[in-house]
């Protein structure tokens, strides 16, 4: 709460970006307290990790300080107050936190908790709800990320031309030897951890979204250390763009296979002779699709920003 107010008050945008990072971490802690470990994991990796990096790269484009002109804040304040008051009014007779008799705990919830292990045989209930029971929503979310990536690309684009400068400006940390060495050491474990999160989602918190973000973070770290050119030599951007599409299509084609086998869309039990192992394959493939799309889109978004930073620096020279 204090952090949120500080974000609104502070004029230094750099500080406010850092504060949003803290805010996300704190929310992640709240989620852990509420026993929503998967959500906390996502919030920590997306909110505190990737989005902070993206906002920082925006700042290198726009400058550090807020425009001092006064905005019309009064209407906004009224809207916010009304919204807040309504929310508090609404929570007045909300079911008590942790109460086992609430509608959420007594209607559909128990089905997930009690039946999911025998129907899907995945210990992590969150994964089975996300990837199977409500798999279509997750498909939708993957497409949302894809759409966001398309949006950023269409606005910023990336130039395929080769620049002459050997050290691009988007590698501001190249000069710091310690950072470089430490970073280089860190990258392989991060990649490995991402893969672990990706494939271990069945058993513990984790899954495609988190893994994708972590994987992308490793590549972004590399880019920050060694520059965009070095990174582009490793991964071709047009391939990354293709990967973003492939992820979505992988998810979709899993669904299509189930209906070629005469079942409904995304019915994983059609994937193998045994319904339960079919669910396993389904979830594995689908999470892989999510992971691929998320990784690709995050990298694309970061590179588009970095490309802009480079272009701006060239203009300044």
């Amino acid at each position: 709460m204090a952090t949120a107010i500080a974000i609104a008050r502070v004029k230094d945008l750099f500080a406010s970006v850092m504060l949003t990072g803290i805010y996300s971490l704190l929310s992640a802690v709240f989620f852990v307290l509420m026993d929503a470990v998967d959500v906390a994991f996502t919030e920590a990796s997306v909110g505190a990790g990737i989005s902070t990096i993206l906002m920082l790269s925006t700042l290198t484009l726009t400058g550090q300080y807020e425009d001092p002109t006064r905005h019309k804040t009064r209407t906004a304040l009224v809207v916010v107050l009304v919204t807040g008051a309504l929310l508090i009014f609404g929570t007045a007779d909300m079911p008590r936190f942790g109460d086992p008799q609430t509608p959420v705990q007594t209607h559909v919830g128990p089905h997930y908790l009690e039946k999911s292990y025998e129907e899907i045989h995945v210990p992590n209930v969150v994964t089975s709800v996300l990837a199977s029971y409500r798999g279509f929503d997750t498909f939708g979310e993957t497409v949302v990320i894809f759409a966001a990536g398309i949006g950023v690309l269409s606005l910023l684009g990336f130039s395929g031309r080769k620049e002459k400068t050997t050290i691009s400006v988007s590698a501001p940390m190249y000069q710091h030897r310690i950072l470089r060495v430490v970073g280089k050491v860190l990258i392989p474990p991060i990649l490995l951890f991402a893969l672990y999160v990706q494939f271990h989602g069945d058993f513990g918190p984790g899954g495609g979204f988190q893994a994708g973000v972590i994987f992308a973070a490793a590549i972004i770290l590399y880019t920050m250390l060694f520059g965009r050119q070095a990174a582009e030599e490793v991964i071709k951007l047009s391939w990354v763009r293709l990967l973003a599409a492939v992820g979505v299509m992988l998810y979709g084609s899993v669904g299509l296979i189930s209906f070629l086998n005469g079942k409904n869309f995304l019915d994983y039990s059609a994937l193998a002779a045994d319904a339960v192992s079919g669910q396993h394959y389904g979830i594995l493939l689908v999470e892989l699709g999510v992971g691929i799309t998320v990784t690709a889109v995050m990298i694309l978004v970061f590179f588009s920003f970095a490309g802009r930073v480079d272009k701006k620096a060239e203009e300044n020279e």
């Binding site: 309504l86 929310l87 009014f89 609404g90 929570t91 007045a92 007779d93 909300m94 079911p95 609430t102 509608p103 959420v104 705990q105 007594t106 209607h107 559909v108 919830g109 089905h111 997930y112 199977s132 029971y133 409500r134 798999g135 279509f136 929503d137 939708g140 979310e141 497409v143 949302v144 894809f146 759409a147 966001a148 398309i150 949006g151 690309l153 269409s154 606005l155 684009g157 763009r241 293709l242 973003a244 599409a245 492939v246 979505v248 299509m249 979709g252 084609s253 669904g255 299509l256 189930s258 209906f259 079942k263 409904n264 869309f265 995304l266 019915d267 994983y268 039990s269």
Partner: protein, 491 residues
């Protein structure tokens, strides 16, 4: 395969979007997109037919039946809107190739087609689903791609317009999400049918009231109801012309559908319209919206902005119909949804033709156009007449039903407002006509007729305007079945 039609309706464009990235050439992209959209239209026609002959279609995704899983539920209401959206998107896409080639730089055309397909898929997903949270997910898909589409406009103000819409749209979507979250909290389910059954048990809860309020405000933001319309004029004015035509014909219509669906099927008619002063608020906002937006439209210089404000006014009529809460009122609203999509589709496509030849559509450019581009201008005039509600056009049909609905309810006082609102439309349409036919072009410009690929789809829509104005049996029949379904489910 026919059992899978409901899901094919949505995943066809959804999977076609990433496929676009694999296709290289623009020509191929355009043909592919058109084909997908046309196929969607065929599917939706088939769906409407099936629903009318053999009742609702239920499709459980992932094989998990609701409420554990997500279900698609097609009934006479959403099948009708599906047909509207898919057929208009197909017609608009037919005109897209040349207009987009002119207005969007070569390197970005790929993204136009991808975003268009995503947007279409998002809208269709909202229409098909029977799950409240699924509505939100697909709303996000359609919104994100809409922001992209608007930002593709070549005017730099398009970026600002898109940003404005992004902020407003995100607030709207968040409100909808909060609303759905609160509903889930007190009922423990996300399935619409299930929600409808469980909500009466908790009717007195504050949480329900709050959830209802958030949801309604969020949707009203999306459909640009009068004081929440601020994002719309700029978005329509600066987006590429084809995008404007598509959005004007479909996006707000889908939001209207969501409103109708939730008011009548989820919250239930009694709860929504008798526990709150909602009908009065809507009626007032609808009337003010019609008047304020029409008056602002009169003073607009940019033609796209002019018709954007006129769209806000038309939303006012639709909301007025809903505020009645009677079967006749809802039917009038649905008719106007359909008919307004036809009018605005025709008008904005004609404007796309103008922009193709002239580069911009302001009042100045219009001088003498009646002679230089007779067919395009005639299309705009025909659309304008329909907007006013002249007999033999679709505009007349929906306004006629609206007036009848008000008389049936006994609200005589409102009828003059509708008539005066139409007269205001006469004023802004006449300004155009006067400019185009009675003033000489001041510069010596060589503007020929718009290319056939744009003119033809425009005139298809103009003929639809007249056809459904003279032979309204199909629309009246379909909307009356849809309203019967709504009122039958929650008597």
């Amino acid at each position: 395969m026919s059992a899978h039609l409901p899901i094919l309706q949505v995943i066809l464009p959804l999977l076609a979007a990433p496929t676009c990235l694999l296709l290289g050439r623009t020509q191929l992209l355009w043909m592919f997109t058109c084909g997908v959209s046309a196929l969607c239209a065929v599917i939706s026609f088939q769906l409407l037919h099936t629903v009318h002959t053999s009742g609702d279609i239920i499709y459980s995704l992932g094989g998990w039946s609701a409420p554990v899983g997500i279900e698609y539920r097609i009934d006479s209401l959403n099948a009708f809107v599906l047909l509207l959206v898919t057929s208009l998107s197909t017609v608009v896409l037919c005109a897209a190739k040349q207009s987009i080639a002119k207005e969007v730089p070569e390197s970005r055309q790929l993204y136009f087609y991808v975003a268009f397909l995503l947007c279409l898929a998002g809208l269709l997903g909202i229409l098909c689903t029977g799950d409240a949270f699924n509505v939100f997910v697909f709303l996000e898909i359609s919104s994100l791609s809409t922001y992209t589409l608007i930002a593709l406009g070549r005017d730099r103000r398009a970026l600002w317009a898109s940003y404005q819409y992004l902020i407003m749209g995100t607030i709207g979507a968040t409100f909808i999400l909060i609303g759905i979250g609160l509903l889930y909290m007190i009922t423990g389910t996300l399935n619409m049918r299930d929600l409808a059954q469980r909500l009466p048990d908790v009717e007195q809860a504050h949480t329900l009231y709050t959830g209802f309020a958030f949801f309604i405000v969020g949707v009203c933001l999306k459909l640009a109801l009068f004081p929440l319309h601020l994002w719309l004029p700029n978005a329509y004015a600066y987006a590429p012309s084809i995008v404007t035509a598509f959005l004007a014909a479909t996006a707000t219509k889908v939001a209207v559908y969501v409103l109708i669906r939730f008011i009548f099927n989820v919250f239930g008619f009694d709860f929504s319209l008798s526990q709150f002063p909602l009908p009065q608020i809507w009626l007032a906002l609808g009337i003010i919206g019609v008047f304020a937006a029409s008056i602002v439209a009169m003073s607009q210089h940019n033609i796209k902005r002019l018709f954007a404000f006129s769209s806000v006014a038309q939303i006012g009529y639709i909301i007025m119909g809903l505020s009645l809460g009677t079967a006749a009122g809802v039917q009038a609203a649905l008719l106007h949804v359909f008919n307004h999509a036809l009018m605005k589709g025709a008008i904005f496509l004609a404007i796309a033709g103008l922009c193709y030849r002239l580069g911009a559509a302001t009042m100045n450019e219009f001088k003498g156009l009646g002679k230089q581009m007779p067919w395009t201008m005639a299309a705009i005039v025909a659309g304008g007449l329909s907007l006013i509600g002249v007999p033999l056009t679709v505009g007349f049909i929906s306004k006629w039903y609206l007036v009848l609905a008000f008389i049936e309810k006994g609200w005589w006082m409102i009828v003059p407002f509708i008539v005066i609102g139409s007269l205001l439309a006469v004023v802004y349409v006449w300004r155009l006509v006067e400019c185009a036919y009675f003033q000489e072009a001041d510069s010596k410009r060589e503007a020929g007729e718009a290319p056939l690929s744009i003119l033809l789809p425009t005139w298809i829509l103009v003929f639809a305007n007249i056809y459904f104005g003279v032979q309204p049996q199909f629309t009246v029949h379909a909307t009356s079945i849809a309203t019967l379904g709504l009122f039958g489910a929650t008597p």
